[in-house]
């Protein structure tokens, strides 16, 4: 990979640039609407220049010029587009000055606008909630009201010893956190020796006034590659008090873990940047949760975090490079307990942070959280299949007798990427289709005009096309017959210049930005590859286990697509094995649920470590039958389901 030299120091100004900025080796990039001025070395691409700023561009390929989504509007007069741009952008877009940030090299002072069309505030559909089983409360953090004897000539023991006495036999080995000790003399006396002990394990984290005894909260974080979810949970009753989410700020460095690791590889301070992004994001989430609940950061002394192995590594500042190359070895898989302040989380100074264990480079704490939430590891007779669709689809199969897991390289198509008019689940994305008496209806997130398809919409649409025989089992879009006149059939149009057909999903008049939304032949191929990867993973696990589709008693789905996808559509296209749809149960954000179970009951922390030990990892990339399964699963099932 070619290394572009970066200017050592980037100067950013708000407002106008200094008047004496001379045109030399360094040029000015003015970014609107933020009105950010960035000093860059001549020849740097706009993408590179924006990488270290807070400006978020879309983009899936990490600046490779492949996805065509990092669109910017160049205001300064600019030359003709380069080849990739001519291919990826429409003539209308090119005419209005739209270019790709990763292909636009800065050769003169440049003014660019990052909003290609005038958009309102984005509304992202991020799955925040999950199905929670009933559990026995035994939170990681305990708060006990304690009465301590004031020191006297009869009992001149140390403050800590007298706290031990007050707490009783159970805590005779009590240790005290340093921060707590440093103010303990005053704290005890301010509370007149009647206070609340904040206890974690056998350690006193803080001494608080008595009235704080009922303020028991903990945080959980689900750190996904693209989205982050935080929840403030009451440790008294296990209820969510606040749930917030945001996009992962690392998105600017590519949409999948591989491009993030690539960034770390290529930049000397890449890892610390990645860590800073995550920590900063989580701090923003916590601040927002504390704000709405009128709590202070000092009120939070425990948090549990679940993410994929790469995200967990980056969060801790551990080098993830081993994960991106065979044999895909991470630095560590065990769960960890660290002090929140050591990683920069802005909570109580002695707050403890639990990081979920993982199994391997591609089976992370989020999948173990999912297993935990599904209860599969306790099932005796029922055979459980669990799927979390994503760029890497994580799958597990089994019960407490034996459990297998694998990670299938599905690619990002199911998240709307690499699809011509694909997008992630945010305002304007069509999330579902319905067809009655041959007319097509769709549902749009945010209830506005549509501007693209997200994963669940894509699956629904392709299932409908198969059902109406406009798409054959080989995956070719073609008319049923010359004279077919149904509304569905009339939407299938021949492409100029070749024999391929497109399906017109939304005519230009009905879409948000006035351009047609189409499903192309290439999009169908992308979906075929993605669903084949998942289905081949499921098949590999079933064969390894020696079971068949009919043996599966329940399918749990985790994550956004699993939650919104129609089970019948998923089965119609062969993404899921064909079973009774009643047996398909979406669990919502299962990684969060798993983390919450750990927070609320200590046994689940141990349980997650047990599962990590017990579950067997099946490596797909070297599996001898994968190729055959993969190819076989690329075709669509022939039978209709409704």
């Amino acid at each position: 990979m070619k290394k572009t030299k970066k200017p050592k120091k980037k100067v950013r100004y708000k407002g106008s640039p200094p008047a004496n900025a001379r045109k030399k080796k360094f040029l000015w990039l003015n970014v609107l609407p933020q009105d950010l001025w960035i000093k860059v070395r001549r020849g740097t691409t706009v993408w590179k220049a924006l990488e270290k700023t807070n400006v978020n561009l879309e983009g899936e390929c990490g600046g490779l010029g492949k996805c065509g989504k990092c669109k910017i509007r160049v205001i300064t007069a600019i030359g003709p587009p380069i080849r990739e741009e001519a291919e990826l952008l429409s003539p209308e877009e090119l005419k209005t000055g739209i270019r790709l940030a990763c292909r636009t090299k800065i050769r003169k002072d440049l003014v660019v606008h990052t909003e290609v069309s005038d958009e309102e505030v984005e509304f992202f559909q991020i799955l925040k909630y999950g199905q929670m089983p009933i559990i026995q409360m035994d939170p990681l953090l305990d708060k006990r009201p304690v009465s301590v004897q004031p020191p006297s000539l009869e009992n001149p023991a140390s403050d800590v010893d007298r706290i031990r006495e007050g707490l009783g036999q159970e805590y005779r080995h009590l240790k005290v956190a340093y921060q707590c000790l440093s103010s303990l003399y005053e704290d005890l006396r301010k509370t007149k020796f009647e206070g609340t002990a904040v206890l974690h394990d056998e350690c006193l984290l803080a001494w608080q006034p008595r009235k704080m005894a009922a303020r028991r909260y903990g945080l959980i974080f689900d750190i996904g590659t693209s989205t982050l979810v935080g929840a403030l949970v009451s440790l008294l009753d296990g209820q969510d008090v606040a749930v917030v989410s945001r996009l992962n700020s690392q998105n600017r460095h590519g949409s999948d873990v591989i491009s993030r690791i690539q960034y770390v590889k290529e930049h000397s301070r890449g890892l610390s940047q990645m860590q800073r992004h995550l920590v900063e994001d989580l701090n923003i989430l916590s601040r927002r949760m504390l704000q709405v609940t009128h709590l202070a950061k000092g009120d939070i002394a425990v948090a549990v975090l679940a993410g994929n192995t790469t995200m967990q590594h980056m969060f801790l500042g551990l080098d993830p490079r081993g994960i991106a190359e065979a044999p895909f070895a991470p630095v560590i898989t065990e769960g960890m307990i660290v002090r929140a302040q050591d990683v920069g989380l802005d909570l109580h100074p002695e707050a403890v942070l639990y990081i979920m264990p993982s199994k391997s480079g591609y089976i992370g704490g989020d999948l173990l959280g999912f297993v935990l939430a599904s209860g599969a590891a306790n099932e005796k007779d029922r055979l459980v299949l669990g799927l979390d669709f994503g760029t890497n689809g994580e799958i597990f199969l089994g019960n407490r007798e034996r459990m297998l897991t694998c990670s299938a390289a599905a690619g990002p198509a199911l998240e709307g990427a690499r699809i011509t008019h694909g997008m992630i689940g945010k305002a304007g994305a069509i999330e579902g289709f319905r067809c009655d008496v041959n007319s097509l209806h769709y549902r749009v997130i945010g209830n506005i005009k549509p501007r693209g398809l997200c994963g669940s919409g894509l699956v629904d649409l392709v299932a409908l096309l198969l059902h109406h025989d406009l798409l054959d089992a080989d995956g070719l879009l073609r008319p049923i017959s010359e004279e077919a006149t149904s509304e569905m059939a009339s939407r299938l149009v021949k492409r100029a210049g070749n024999e391929l057909h497109d399906f017109v999903v939304v005519p230009s008049a009905d879409s948000l930005d006035g351009s047609e939304i189409r499903l192309t032949q290439k999009d169908v191929r992308e979906l075929q590859l993605a669903k084949a990867a998942i289905a081949a993973g499921v098949k590999t696990l079933m064969k390894t286990m020696g079971v068949d589709t009919k043996d599966i008693d329940v399918i749990y789905l985790a994550g956004a697509l699993g939650n919104y996808v129609h089970p019948l559509s998923a089965m119609r296209i062969g993404l899921l094995p064909r079973i009774d749809p009643e047996k398909i149960i979406p669990l919502g954000n299962a990684a969060s649920t798993g983390a919450k179970m750990v927070l609320l009951s200590k046994q689940y922390w141990n349980k997650s470590a047990e599962i990590a030990q017990f579950i067997e990892h099946v490596e797909l990339s070297t599996h001898p039958n994968l190729f055959d399964y993969f190819v076989k699963e690329m075709s669509f099932p022939t039978e209709n389901l409704w």
Partner: protein, 211 residues
């Protein structure tokens, strides 16, 4: 002699019809090289083209490749030493650190279908191993694939290894894989970039000056 029936059957992946047509042609005393070139290889050219366009997909392409293989088996007893020529030798593999070989396998099948002889080094191939094999086999083309952007740099390292051992000018280098682009190929000094298995054949022929 026209081989339309045979070609059609290979394109459709109709093994039985293709085998019958091959047997008929052999029984009629046709030149074996003609059956291969005008019947089988010509059909695979069509398949490659349709695949690149998106009209055909991987399972159908494989079915065609399998049909062709079965027909080649029927022809084999009739090959005389030195009579059947190969279009060229290709050394293939995924680069060091990369285990994803599905794309590379498709390229192999299509190249074989087009009449190239392929030496497949499989996966996780070190630069030295590529160089040694190219040298040993006197291969005309070396093909590398990478699925992960993190393993792409190994392509450039392998090309450097060719340069260092002084055989870079004796072999044409073709690269491919999901994150790879034509620009990247140019950047690291590869001779060709193939976005898919069908294009790999076209590029291979172009590099060796075969029409």
């Amino acid at each position: 002699m026209s081989y339309e029936t045979l070609s059609d059957a290979v394109v459709k992946g109709d093994i039985n019809t293709a085998k019958e047509a091959t047997q008929r042609a052999v029984a009629a005393g046709d030149n074996i090289q003609d059956i291969l070139d005008q019947g089988l290889i010509a059909a695979m050219d069509v398949v490659g083209g349709q695949f690149s366009k998106g009209l055909m997909f991987v399972p159908q392409m494989l079915r065609s490749a399998k049909t062709m293989q079965e027909c080649v088996e029927l022809l084999k007893p009739h090959f005389k030493e030195g009579e059947v020529t190969t279009k060229g030798k290709v050394v293939l593999g995924t680069v060091k650190g990369d285990l994803h070989d599905i794309g590379k396998n498709l390229v192999r099948m299509m190249l074989e279908g087009a009449g190239f002889s392929v030496i497949d080094l499989q996966v996780d191939v070190a630069p030295e191993a590529f160089v040694a094999k190219v040298n040993e086999e006197k291969a005309e083309i070396m093909g590398m694939s990478a699925l992960l952007s993190t393993t792409m740099p190994a392509m450039s390292q392998t090309i450097k290894a060719l340069v260092d051992s002084g055989i870079r000018d004796r072999v044409k280098v073709m690269i491919g894989g999901a994150p790879v682009t034509a620009n990247y190929a140019e950047e690291i000094g590869a001779d060709a970039y193939a976005p898919d298995a069908g294009s790999a054949v076209i590029e291979a022929k172009k590099m060796l000056g075969i029409d």
